[in-house]
């Protein structure tokens, strides 16, 4: 392996992101379960259906993206690149930003709801989704190349 290889740095970074995201969004899942258990109207009433949807989506996406970070770290470990190629730098940044923004958008979208419409913070979702799509595309293309 090249001495300038930055792979271990990326692996550590994404493992760190992955496990922290898992911790945060699994905790959110537990909080949602608790609200179910105590039949909290703020989360469960019909008027708050949109909030419920938003936060469930935040929980599932946040957890999934935690796993995606770990999968990315494993991918880098299994197929290391020489040096610090641009695709990996970009994929790492975009994956990090996307996995942060998308579930956060769902969380914010559920804080205030207008009947069926979430709060404007939900706009982070398409931004995050786009960043993630590009990041995953970069990884997929490079996985194909190698």
């Amino acid at each position: 392996m090249n001495s300038l290889d930055a792979t271990p740095t990326y692996v550590r970074r994404h493992l760190r992101w992955g496990w922290w995201l898992l911790l945060v969004y699994l905790a959110l899942g537990i909080a949602l379960e608790v609200m179910h258990g105590f039949k909290v109207g703020y989360y469960l009433s019909v008027a708050n259906e949109t909030r419920r949807l938003m936060w469930r989506l935040a929980h599932t996406h946040g957890t999934l993206f935690g796993l995606l970070h770990i999968a990315f770290a494993v991918t880098l470990k299994l197929a290391p690149s020489d040096g610090d190629p641009a695709w990996r730098r970009w994929a790492s940044k975009l994956l990090t930003a996307g996995a942060l923004l998308l579930p956060l958008g769902f969380v914010l979208g559920g804080v205030i709801v207008y009947e069926s419409d979430p709060w404007i913070g939900v706009l982070l979702v398409p931004v995050g989704a786009l960043l993630l799509l590009v990041a995953v595309g970069l990884v997929a293309l490079n996985a194909t190349r190698t």
Partner: protein
């Protein structure tokens, strides 16, 4: 061929394939999301079976879309509407929508027998052929029930007549709280010998208010009725929703609306309408009205009412205040379900500016509030706002009575433990004096929605029981007149000897017309009146009303006797009796009950005809009874 370029061409092929697949997935998703159930000629929505042709056709049109379309955006309001009796005013028949007992093994009223049968998910009634022409023997026929009306007090049923989309009334209905069948005739306060129209009644009348955007399409006794939705759906009050749905597919517009103080001009919100237009939304059904011209009537027979929420109802309809027996002689409506007619004569409505006038929404709320602590069942009974069962309803404007001292000074009655907003059991409750139960609903008195002040004159000149004597049942009109004069300076009319000496409720029960008898009987079972007047003396009067010619009066007498401790059986069981029993059985029940009651000891009480030793003064009792007002009364919603 060189092998050097092969990996590159393979990568390009992979990339192209991936891009193509992504574009295809996005395109198909978009087509499904925005499509009409058809994608490149392939129908992915299963065709629904053609609707039956022998009953009203349900078909959203003319800008109406049906309440289900509202659900995805207005889940909370949809939910509360779903719980309301408005939604279930008209229902198709299915096991989920059937409240009545179809396991009962036949039932008979006035010599007409009815048999019931469930066949799969359909419900059938066997009865005497309703189309019998009087020639030969009347056949028995099975009819499939296709629609029902009501879910609060009654569930009434309709069968397909077989002539176009005309449906006819099944002559019996299910009384929900009594869990029993009874004739439809008995559910209204109508003369015993009157005919209730059963043929095509839904198509020619009921559908207008019991469905959305109904078109009767009446022609020569046939009906090709079409409605946008069965039951009183969202668009009955909010107007056609198609433009609203289409406009709000645009998320930018929606968020502009969320940020704006302005209402959405693509839909009507009745509470945002100015002044009288707001209550007219309710008034389109909750009022006695007539179309203004023969031309309008002819048009109605084809395409129904033209009024839509937000319109000025007075442009197409005239409000009625006289005619039939739906009104007290001074024009106050006494038929329930016509509360807007009453509101129109109320000073709080008439004498205020349009912006400050009392409206239906001053007290009622059609969608239960999120922070409403009451159960859905409690809210939906009258769809009142929180606190509006008490004095808050009036004190929200009449703030001068907000304190217990001020209220007591006005009412001369004690307030309840919670102060001015409470009003106690009665006496200091604004409603009980200013909105007494002088309207008749489906087998019960309900509050008049014409806010007025009690007078003895209204009882003497108009025949309407006054609020004082509806609580103080054991007191005379003279007694009420004295206190009304002393406390509020209300003038006293000339009274007859009976009016001076005999309790008003006794006069109404024995000598009144059917409406007075029914109202008197109902109040004898009303807890505040029982608390104020005692109950023991009521037994002979209610017993006599068990034998009343009007079924509704008998039904009410039975219900009040059940709440009367002095009517309990020898073994302590509460009184009960079938108000549909034969005349002989009713007579026996009257005699038996009075005989049992006579054995008890009681004090003399002149106004209720208890003479020395507590014995009933039969001479006066029978004299008053012989003077019963036989004027036909017809109070059918």
């Amino acid at each position: 061929m060189s092998t050097v370029g092969r990996p590159d061409s393979r990568r390009r092929a992979w990339s192209a394939s991936l891009a193509t697949a992504l574009i295809a997935i996005v395109s198909i998703g978009a087509a499904f999301a925005c499509g009409d159930g058809n994608f490149l000629g392939w129908r992915y929505v299963v065709e629904k079976p053609a609707p039956p042709t022998d009953r009203p056709l349900v078909k959203p049109r003319r800008g109406y879309i049906g309440s289900d379309e509202c659900r995805s955006c207005h889940a909370s309001n949809y939910e509360s509407w779903s719980s309301s009796f408005h939604r279930t005013m008209t229902r198709t028949i299915s096991p989920a929508n059937m409240d009545a007992d179809f396991d009962v093994k036949g039932i008979e009223f006035y010599g007409h027998r009815f048999e019931f049968e469930r066949r799969g998910d359909t419900y059938w009634v066997e009865m005497d052929d309703p189309d019998w022409n009087g020639q030969g023997e009347r056949e028995r026929v099975w009819k499939e029930i296709v629609l029902s009306t009501g879910s609060h007090n009654f569930q009434a049923f309709w069968y397909a007549s077989g002539e176009q989309r005309r449906i006819d009334f099944v002559p019996i209905c299910w009384r929900i709280d009594e869990a029993r069948w009874m004739p439809v005739h008995a559910s209204f306060l109508i003369p015993p010998d009157s005919d209730l129209p059963m043929r095509g009644r839904w198509n020619s009348g009921c559908h207008s208010c019991h469905s959305v955007a109904g078109e009767p399409r009446l022609k020569h006794g046939d009906a090709d009725t079409i409605v946008a939705e069965l039951g009183i759906g969202c668009e009955a009050c909010h107007g056609p929703g198609r433009a609203h749905v289409l406009a709000n597919r645009d998320p930018v517009r929606r968020y502009q609306q969320h940020a704006s103080e302005e209402g959405d001009d693509t839909i009507v919100n009745p509470t945002d309408l100015v002044g009288h237009l707001s209550s007219q939304v309710c008034g389109q059904c909750h009022a006695l009205t007539d179309l203004k011209s023969d031309q309008q009537i002819a048009k109605w027979r084809r395409t129904g009412y033209t009024y839509k929420p937000g319109d000025d109802l007075t442009e197409t309809r005239a409000f009625l205040f006289e005619g039939d027996s739906y009104y007290w002689p001074d024009g106050m409506v006494r038929l329930a379900g016509r509360e807007f007619s009453a509101l129109l004569r109320t000073p709080c409505f008439l004498e205020a500016t349009p912006e400050t006038a009392m409206s239906c929404f001053s007290c009622h709320r059609m969608h239960q509030a999120e922070d409403d602590p009451r159960s859905v069942e409690e809210w939906r009974d009258d769809q009142l706002k929180v606190g509006m069962r008490g004095n808050t309803a009036c004190v929200q404007c009449h703030t001068e009575y907000a304190s217990a001292d001020a209220l007591t000074a006005h009412t001369h009655h004690p307030v309840g433990p919670e102060g001015a907003s409470d009003g106690g059991d009665s006496g200091s409750r604004c409603y009980d004096c200013h909105m007494p139960h002088t309207s008749w609903s489906l087998l019960g008195s309900i509050r008049s929605h014409e806010v007025s002040s009690p007078t003895v004159a209204e009882s003497v000149r108009v025949g309407r029981p006054n609020a004082c004597n509806l609580c103080h049942l054991d007191k005379t009109l003279a007694w009420s007149g004295r206190w009304l004069k002393e406390w509020w300076g209300v003038g006293r009319p000339e009274l007859s000897e009976d009016e001076r000496l005999v309790a008003a409720s006794v006069l109404w029960a024995l000598s009144g017309d059917a409406a007075q008898r029914a109202i008197s009987a109902w109040h004898m079972g009303w807890a505040p009146a029982q608390a104020a007047s005692g109950t023991d003396w009521m037994v002979p009067y209610l017993a006599r009303l068990l034998d009343d010619p009007y079924e509704a009066v008998r039904f009410t007498a039975v219900r009040s006797l059940r709440k009367n401790p002095s009517a309990t059986g020898p073994d302590g069981t509460p009184f009960d009796f079938d108000f549909m029993a034969s005349e002989a059985e009713r007579d026996d029940a009257d005699r038996g009950l009075v005989e049992r009651w006579s054995r008890g000891s009681r004090a003399e009480l002149g106004p209720v005809l208890l003479g020395p030793g507590g014995a009933l003064r039969n001479d006066v009792f029978e004299r008053l009874f012989r003077n019963r007002d036989e004027t036909p009364v017809m109070l059918s919603e």
